[in-house]
Point group: C2
Chain length 336, copies 2
DNA sequence: GTCTAGCACTCTGTGTTCCCGAGTGCCAAG
DNA sequence: CTTGGCACTCGGGAACACAGAGTGCTAGAC
């Protein structure tokens, strides 16, 4: 049905349309890419491609434009991920290496990705549940309140102010801290609920009310903060592009954590793979494309990052940038 | 020069233009606001106002539009800050009261403000230097690295991974922690540099290299993080409005901490006052207006917050919302 | 059978013209 | 000082024509 030349024509159409943002006609196509055939032949192929739904024309007697289905075929079979230049790789490396803490890593990553791709970059904070407890700290604020701080091996710090049910002196807090750390140090966060289940029984009865409150806050922290935090950068890159769904919707989606989460969300069962969702394949924002991947070292996938842009984007370049940034940030996080 | 009726005309022009977004003509003006004079009279007044530079016409034979100078006069002399409704106040209160930590307070505040004003809201994190040290924590990661955590009375937590110049055992770290806390607990951050200046001398010689490294990181944290962190929300509200300077520039400014800082920056010497900067009065973004104020309890101003929008905004309502939110967030922070 | 050249056809986008109406400035009278 | 009257000015929309790009189709060439 689709011979090699027709595929070449589709590839050429996608490439031209992405770079010019104008419907591409048979004549220009036959000239610019040396297809060795005449415009008339190209027209026949185009008619076939349109028949199959890979391209469409905005109106009669205009050039052709790829459909979502056309981009899909292009991404799956007609393009190769384009690696970054050596200079770009060096720039990424040195920029990320300068980060001082987890917040900084994430901020730098998202900005870097936005700049490299000239799209909107989105980065999810490393997931709590897959990391392990490094330390639990209880800091007395006054005699009824303490600050509860949880530090994970990924460098993430979670904090909560806890209102205690009764006055608790410093010694008891120190004791609680010691017990908690002894119990939790090095444990995976996902196993925390089981570990703390029988903890109260191992404490003196007078410690139990306070311990119960603290533990409930701890569990709450794990559940609520699960993987909610997502940041984006590069919104200015939206200004030029025109979206099927309207700029406003895109900006709104970017500020809705839940929507962003779903957009980044993994599809395949191999989280480290590069996923590309094109147009209507996305939930919510049907007029945009999302290129995303998991990051984190090997077996231990921490979270996801990617970029969001118009369906008319340079997929090979974007995919290369996303993949490269994910690798580097994984390295950085593994090292710290 | 400008009698009462001319001022009333200016006020009416601003109000009409803000609500309709169309140049306002003499006839409509005379009708809608009961000025008790004829359109011809209004025209004379308008000519005078234009002469003085308070209004202008986009082209001959169109209605009038306020200039920056006109908005300025309106804000200074012709309008009153519009208080929020009781329902709105209750909503603010309950929404902010649900916050669990400082991050959450800031996030909720900025979203709330964006929603209330239907503009872009900007909130600066509470300044470190004006708060006091609540606790310093050193968490061993391995024998050459520790995580340094600084907790302030405003609930802010700063963290850094510190690479030590030599292997340091837990006991020594515990000792350092105790000394640091004894020295710093309750001190204002601005006085920290002096306080730690002679600290090394009070330590055993073998502790000094590690202590020096940690202290340098502490000082660095104070300096670098000074008041850099700023967040915004409500970018979607930009989609409708049209900016003199172009949407792209505004979005770019929002992602530049430095620019944002300058835009929020205080002008008067009373930081708690509501400041309004209109159009060209702003640095960088000459086509926008910024309504901002400091927040924090009374004498202890922590940082600034505000909104950014087109010069054509409803100043009385916006100012009311900014002021109210600043008050409530100050309360919340003072209580915690 | 596949490719090519030629040709008639169909659109969009652009430029032109025209006209209506909102709004103005000015002037003379109340 | 205010008001009604009046001529004037432009912007913006409607109607129209037109050039140009691109297409589909058909008949002939390889």
């Amino acid at each position: 049905m689709l011979d090699d030349r027709k595929l070449a024509v589709l590839r050429a159409i996608v490439e031209d349309y992405v770079s010019t943002n104008e419907p591409v006609g048979s004549k220009a196509l036959a000239e610019r890419h040396n297809l060795k055939v005449s415009p008339a032949t190209v027209r026949n192929d185009m008619a076939a491609l349109e028949e199959e739904g890979y391209i469409t024309q905005p109106h009669t007697s205009a050039g052709r434009v790829p459909t979502d289905k056309g981009y899909r075929l292009f991404v799956d079979r007609l393009s190769q991920v384009k690696p970054l230049s050596a200079a770009e790789r060096r720039a990424i490396e040195s920029f990320l290496a300068g980060a001082v803490d987890l917040d900084d890593v994430v901020t730098r990553t998202v900005r870097l990705l936005a700049q490299l791709t000239r799209q909107v970059a989105v980065v999810q904070y490393p997931t709590l549940t897959r990391s392990t407890v490094r330390h639990v700290e209880l800091v007395p604020l006054n005699d009824r309140r303490i600050m509860f701080v949880l530090i994970t091996n990924t460098g993430r710090v979670e904090q909560r102010v806890v209102e205690l049910p009764e006055v608790v002196d410093e010694a008891r807090i120190a004791h609680l801290r010691a017990v908690l750390n002894a119990c939790l140090d090095g444990c995976g966060l996902s196993s925390v609920p089981e570990l703390v289940a029988d903890l109260p029984e191992r404490l003196a009865p007078e410690d139990r009310p306070a311990a119960a409150t603290i533990l409930s806050v701890l569990l709450e922290t794990l559940v609520e903060r699960h993987d909610e935090k997502i940041v984006f950068a590069g919104a200015a890159n939206l200004a030029g592009a025109d979206f099927a769904t309207g700029l406003r919707d895109v900006l709104e989606a970017l500020e809705e954590q839940v929507v962003l989460m779903r957009l980044l969300g993994e599809t395949s069962d191999t989280p480290s793979a590069l996923t590309v969702r094109i147009g209507a394949e996305n939930p919510y924002l049907r007029g945009t494309s999302v290129v995303a991947t998991g990051y984190g070292s090997g077996d231990n996938q921490l979270a996801r990052l990617g970029v969001l842009g118009p369906t008319r984007m340079d997929y090979p370049v974007t995919m290369g940038a996303v993949r490269a940034v994910a690798r580097y940030v994984s390295q950085i996080l593994a090292a710290s």
